[in-house]
């Protein structure tokens, strides 16, 4: 499987077409030696090994260490909206209702957050494009800086109708769409579900989303039930996503160094004998 290295746009707010660059392990440029010698490990095998090794462990990137239940509680992630605003599909994720205030079940949030972070880490490890979306103007700058810090993309402005579904015409032919979309808030400014969730489902793009007690979690691939209004909570989410993505990318570089160096060495030796 070819590794797709990407050239990231400088602005970071649009996704540009990935030019085919020589993959880091140089798989395309080697010529296999005649069969007198025992078959050397192909570059393709190494890439596959790099890609599949993390899938064998449950928590390869150890994302569960990044947060604890107390951190979630202190960041007020458990506070939902009032009973009248409750979405019927969020009822399984609620712990209870204290004087008409919905309280989100943090045990469930822990599990969902762990799954979501793990998925994000694996996508970042494989060099996928991640798009952060949030229509909350209060946190627009925070989301954009988070995306910039992990080398990914953000879209916190007005979502044009054909952004994903009509991308080939709006951005030119052969655009590469994001491989994961992370919603820091699944609602838009008029308290309706963000168009991006439905569009991502249409374009077969998985989504990770923070769903509050007034949101619809049904179409989000990896929902994370939690508060999306408090600054402390949103800062926590941004920090967690940034740390996972950076961790995953660093790990990828490490794995390439570990696995590719011996292969290069063997190839070099083979070339000179």
């Amino acid at each position: 499987m070819a590794v797709r290295a990407l050239t990231r746009g400088l602005l970071g707010f649009r996704y540009s077409r990935a030019a085919t660059v020589a993959s880091p392990c140089g798989g395309h440029h080697y010529v296999t030696a005649p069969s007198a010698k025992p078959p050397q490990p192909q570059a393709g095998d190494v890439t596959e090994k790099i890609l599949n090794q993390p899938l064998e462990k449950a928590d390869f990137f150890r994302v569960a260490e990044l947060f604890s239940l107390k951190d979630l509680f202190d960041a007020r992630v458990h506070l939902g909206h009032k009973k009248g605003c409750r979405h019927r599909l969020m009822e399984p994720y609620l712990y209870g209702c204290r004087l008409d205030h919905d309280i989100i079940n943090l045990d469930q949030t822990m599990e969902h957050l762990q799954l979501a972070l793990n998925f994000t880490a694996h996508i970042a490890y494989r060099g996928g494009i991640i798009l952060f979306v949030s229509r909350r103007r209060q946190f627009g700058h925070l989301v954009e800086t988070t995306a910039k810090d992990c080398g990914e993309y953000a879209h916190t402005r007005y979502w044009q109708g054909g952004l994903l579904t009509n991308a080939n015409i709006q951005y030119g032919p052969g655009v590469r769409l994001p491989d994961l979309i992370i919603f820091l808030s699944t609602l838009n400014n008029v308290f309706q579900q963000h168009v991006g969730i439905r569009d991502a489902a249409k374009m077969n793009i998985p989504t990770v989303g923070v769903v509050d007690s007034n949101c619809n979690p049904s179409l989000v691939t990896y929902p994370v039930p939690g508060n999306d209004d408090t600054p402390a909570a949103v800062e926590l989410y941004c920090r967690l996503f940034k740390m996972t993505i950076n961790r995953a990318k660093d790990r990828r570089k490490q794995m390439e160094l570990i696995h590719v160096l011996p292969v290069n060495f063997l190839k070099a030796r083979q070339m000179f004998t």
Binding site: L51, L55, R88, H122, G128, D179, N204, N216, L219, T221
Partner: protein
Amino acid sequence: MAGSRLERFGTVFTRVRDLIRSGVIKPKEKPLWYDVYKTFPPKRAPLHVKPVTSPSAKKQEIVPEIFYSEDKIRTGFYEQYGRGLRALDLSKSNFVSTCQRFVDKYRELKSHGMLDKSSLFEETGKALLKEGIILRRRGAPPVLAESRDPVLDLKLIDMLAEQQSAGTDTTKTTEDKNS
């Protein structure tokens, strides 16, 4: 690349899986996230749920109300003493409010053996006063620092009546003086 835009039919994964199975998407063109999703699926498949339009029945409370046994003590406290003098500071996680101190003291006294509810209330109030927390009963008139200025109680009609009577007196005196 081939795709299926039916977001209300199956999940993202099932659609891509079926497209691969049928050969529309070649194994080489498999999306990046496919293997990861297969190994770590979410807890609930992200199927689209049709919104319930009919307002019929259901209405069963699945979300429980959260109440604690101390709530009874708290209601008693708020009924008697109103909102409390000290404001709640929610930014600190270890903050103890006046009501919470009342509750703790109440439970302490109860554990010592007192059983009567009203006497417990009295005792708790006294104990807190001893510790220095002032509790003001709700409905009691607010205590004034200084008494009302007697000038404010004067009415205009009385003042005019006084002035008129004073005026007749002065004319009388001036007449006496002149004569």
